[in-house]
């Protein structure tokens, strides 16, 4: 198996320089000083934020080196290729809950070994035998406050109410979350969403369809839509919408009836460096580390104890802050993994009519 020899060698030669500089002397570190973990994160603003919160402190503590690379929005295809060919170019990778589910079904994930008892304060939904959540994001909506005279929209029913709240609207060109939003707009209570009443959801979508000016497809695009004023109201991921607000756009977030989900670490099955990877993953559950990234990323720490060291003003824009998370619920990955393929087909067909 020459391929398995090829890799570590090339990578080591590339990273040797970096490793040598960063491996400052310490008693504990000697044995592991030469270990380099390649960590795939979502890139963009994540890379510096995670370096500050996780990579830097972990290197400091253990003497290992973390080389971070940016992964795709949905890295499942690459993850699968990596495991099936035994080409471990990544040792740890961030996954969404849906990616976790898919990879678990295909038996591509290594156990993380992190138990609830090891990580006090973690929300229970963020721990799986093969996954450790690092951050919570939520799908909510935002509106331009400069375009809303008088009353402000407060719920998905208001988003659907084009008479009371006129203006251009945008939704995501994807059935995930959009079907839930349609049901919430139609009066289904947040607690009783799942299993989704699909026919009712599409009937509700029929009502809003003529009023949707833009069906967005990417997170960066949603920021642009809100920031430029192309639309007055849109669904989106909280941090992407917050980015427009941080950049000075006159807009407000509506947390009510939001759906949150979790991103976290997974380890490719069969990874020869799995032990070191597990050590890193466990390190990332520490609340004081998680609190560090919130100054740069508006995502919610999965360890609620992190809020002990986050200032109250910043906590307002984080999904897991008690005031926000109490108005939302976790999107059901079980329902979606069962129905996603079928819903994609039906949603795509519905869009064309």
């Amino acid at each position: 198996m020459s391929k398995q020899k090829f890799f570590p060698v090339t990578r080591r030669t590339v990273l040797a320089g970096t490793g040598a500089i960063l491996a400052t002397p310490a008693i504990l570190r000697h044995a592991r000083a030469s270990v380099t973990l390649t960590v795939a994160d979502p890139g963009g603003p994540f890379s510096p934020a995670f370096r500050k919160a996780f990579y830097g402190p972990f290197e400091e503590l253990t003497g290992m080196t973390i080389a971070n690379v940016a992964r795709e929005a949905e890295p499942t295809a690459q993850f699968k290729s990596i495991v099936e060919t035994g080409t471990f170019i990544w040792d740890v990778c961030t996954l969404t809950l849906s990616a976790r589910k898919i990879l678990e079904t295909q038996d591509l994930l290594e156990p993380t070994g992190v138990e609830a008892a090891d990580a006090p304060g973690m929300i229970s939904e963020a721990l799986f035998p093969n996954f450790v959540g690092t951050d919570v994001y939520s799908t909510i909506f935002a509106f331009r406050s400069d375009k809303m005279s008088g009353e402000e929209p407060k719920s998905w029913s208001d988003f659907w109410n084009v008479e009371a709240f006129p203006g251009r609207r945008a939704l995501r060109k994807n059935p995930i979350d959009t079907l839930e939003q349609a049901l919430l707009a139609d009066g289904v209570p947040l607690e009783e969403l799942y299993p989704l009443d699909v026919d009712r959801a599409f009937a509700s979508l029929d009502k809003i369809k003529p009023h949707i000016a833009v069906w967005w497809t990417g997170g960066a695009q949603s920021t642009q839509l809100l920031q430029s004023g192309e639309v007055d109201m849109l669904s989106g991921w909280n941090a992407r919408l917050q980015a427009a607000i941080d950049g000075g756009a006159p807009a407000q977030l509506v947390w009510n009836q939001g759906l949150y989900s979790i991103e976290g670490w997974g380890i490719p099955k069969g990874n020869p460096k799995a032990d070191a990877a597990r050590e890193f993953v466990k390190f990332c559950t520490r609340p004081e580390q998680q609190a560090l990234y919130t100054s740069e990323l508006s995502y919610g720490p999965t360890n609620q104890k992190a809020y002990d060291s986050i200032d109250a003003e910043r906590a307002k824009v984080l999904p897991t802050a008690p005031a926000n998370i109490s108005q939302m619920r976790l999107a059901s990955e079980d329902w979606w993994s069962e129905n996603r393929a079928e819903m994609s087909e039906r949603f795509n067909a519905w869009l064309l009519i």
Binding site: F46, T76, A77, S81, Q106, A220, A239
Partner: protein, 580 residues
């Protein structure tokens, strides 16, 4: 046309074998790095759960209407894109082909400008131009020309604008070398025999330019079939293309069997369309098969074609001779060309001020100016190494693809083998197969060969994608090539290599330069293969931009585009100096 019929037909057997042999490197390369990896992946589509042969995935396709509707939409968008790229590109290519070499090369730089701006950045530039609060709408409502904002984007119009913009340079660059090769004395001869200006154009010039038109149409059509960024950003709810669905199956649902089904569907229908196109418009002229069979079929289509052209000529003759004053007519072409070039460069023109913005967003006009995005770029070793790697990989790709693609084109042009058609289709195949399918297939192959995350892997992957372009661009100029020149040289005692070096290559230089540029640009702007093959470790420029913009778009992208534009312009200008 007589020139082409004369030579290969009478060549001795030895030459024919020798000529086809030239296609061997390209065929071998594509078999190893394209056919096998893609075939392995597509084979998944006929496998059931236990690895047995099964048609279950195809049954699903047959019973789900939505995929067929999206296939129709995909064809419609690609067809419209090809049509408008040719329509708007033809006069521009004609205007360029009439120029003196020096001036043409300067003007070509302008046509090439959109090539040097990443299509990711271009898509966002169009969003700023066409949006509801965009530049055009603000100008229109501000000047009172329009009462309210016009819907220029998030519909079919927006998609076509974005795609024609991306494809027009390709169409122009494919048509122009063919047009330059047309002997203008033929038109003059028709004139002395009493043909009007319109007749001279439609009956003489236009038919001679058809090989270029056909090559341009084919390239733009098939390239457009695989688009996904432009419809995602500029399209509305009804503009979904098949490549987008394939990506969802590969990346989000990880159902590679069904992705294989959709890819096979796109591939099969693209082949059928190419075949029909070929039959109707005599595309086969490209692969030189017109001299063999099919003469009768070509015969009546050709007669009908000429009848049509005759009608068009008479109508245009009426219009131009009576409505327009003679000296105004001569100004129409330059004026049109100026507008067309403006259309091509305007998104790039917008990127330049945005690169100097003080804002965190891509806004136009920028609220203030600063150099912070350039500082960020020049202080980042990641961006710099990605830039250097992209140039290196693109350069290596361009040399490799021009060489083996060009040799294959020569083989086809010189041979009358019945395999020509098959080889021709095979050379184009990498264009039709969605890149994501090639990328996943290559990852598996490269993992076995130890080529993942290497520069060599990137060059090989990009060469696979570039061969169709270099092949067609070279084939198109060879079509109009007078082989008697080679024979003349040979009869004067030149060896075959000497003929190639001293006669053929210098005469088809335009096509070779086009090939080189196509391949360079294909590699330089390539994202999908880079995502898989680089694994994030050997990042190229588009990959680095993509990483940066998945979540958050910032003006670094614009700054990078400006840097690239400056470097490329400098290189092209220096190259121009040296050549003179």
């Amino acid at each position: 046309m007589t020139a082409a019929t004369l030579s290969p037909a009478r060549s001795p057997f030895r030459l024919r074998v020798g000529a086809l042999w030239l296609a061997a490197p390209a065929i071998a390369f594509l078999v190893v790095f394209f056919l096998i990896p893609v075939g392995r992946l597509l084979f998944l589509s006929v496998q059931g759960d236990g690895g047995t042969l099964s048609s279950e995935h195809y049954d699903r396709l047959l019973h789900t209407e939505v995929y067929w509707r999206i296939l129709v939409i995909t064809f419609r968008i690609a067809g419209l894109t090809a049509f408008f790229s040719l329509l708007f590109g033809y006069p521009l290519a004609y205007w360029l082909s009439q120029m003196k070499d020096n001036r043409r090369n300067q003007m070509l730089l302008m046509v090439l400008v959109p090539f040097w701006t990443s299509y990711l950045v271009k898509a966002f530039a169009w969003m700023l131009l066409l949006g509801n609060e965009g530049v055009i709408n603000r100008l229109l409502t501000g000047s009172g020309l329009a009462g309210g904002s016009l819907p220029l984007m998030y519909n079919e119009f927006g998609v076509i604008v974005g795609m024609v913009h991306a494809m027009m340079p390709l169409a122009v660059l494919t048509m122009m070398p063919v047009m330059s090769g047309i002997d203008l004395r033929l038109s003059q001869a028709a004139g002395t025999l009493g043909a009007s200006g319109a007749h001279r154009f439609w009956m003489v010039y236009f038919p001679l330019s058809i090989p270029g038109l056909a090559a341009g149409g084919l390239l733009t059509f098939i390239t457009s079939l695989g688009f996904f960024i432009v419809p995602a950003f500029l399209g509305g709810r009804q503009q979904t293309m098949l490549a987008q669905l394939i990506i969802v199956q590969v990346q989000e649902l990880v159902n590679w069997a069904f992705a294989g089904v959709l890819a096979t569907m796109l591939l099969a229908t693209a082949l059928v369309a190419t075949w029909i196109y070929n039959r109707l418009f005599g595309l086969s002229s490209l692969s030189a098969t017109e001299q063999t069979g099919g003469r009768t079929v070509d015969g009546w289509t050709r007669r009908i074609g000429f009848m049509l052209l005759e009608k068009i000529a008479s109508i245009t003759a009426l219009a131009t001779d009576h409505v327009l004053v003679r000296d105004r007519r001569t100004r129409i072409l330059p004026a049109y060309s100026a507008i067309a070039i403006f259309f091509l460069v305007v998104p790039t023109l917008m990127v330049i001020p945005i690169a100097f913005t003080s804002s965190r967003f891509l806004e136009f006009p920028p609220p203030g100016y600063s150099l912070r995005w350039f500082e960020l770029y020049f202080n980042s070793p990641i961006w710099i190494s990605a830039t250097v790697r992209s140039f290196g990989v693109a350069f290596a790709t361009a040399i490799l693809a021009t060489l083996i693609g060009g040799m294959a084109a020569l083989a086809i042009a010189r041979s009358r083998s019945r395999w020509n058609g098959a080889i021709f289709a095979f050379m184009l195949a990498p264009m039709i197969v969605p890149r994501i399918v090639i990328a996943v297939g290559l990852f598996y192959l490269f993992a076995q060969m130890g080529l993942v995350a290497t520069n060599a892997g990137l060059v090989i992957g990009h060469t696979v994608l570039s061969i169709p372009f270099t092949f067609v661009a070279t084939a198109a100029v060879l079509k109009g090539y007078d082989w008697r020149l080679d024979q003349a040289a040979a009869s004067l005692g030149a060896g075959r290599l000497q003929v190639l070096r001293l006669i053929t290559v210098p005469l088809i230089r335009g096509g070779i330069i086009s090939s080189f540029l196509f391949a360079f640009v294909t590699s330089f702007d390539e994202l999908t293969i880079a995502i898989f093959v680089s694994g994030g470790l050997k990042s190229t420029l588009p990959k680095q931009m993509w990483d940066d913009m998945i979540l958050q778009l910032n003006p670094t992208l614009a700054a990078v585009s400006v840097v690239v534009l400056v470097i490329v312009t400098a290189i092209l200008l220096v190259a121009e100096r040296i050549r003179r």
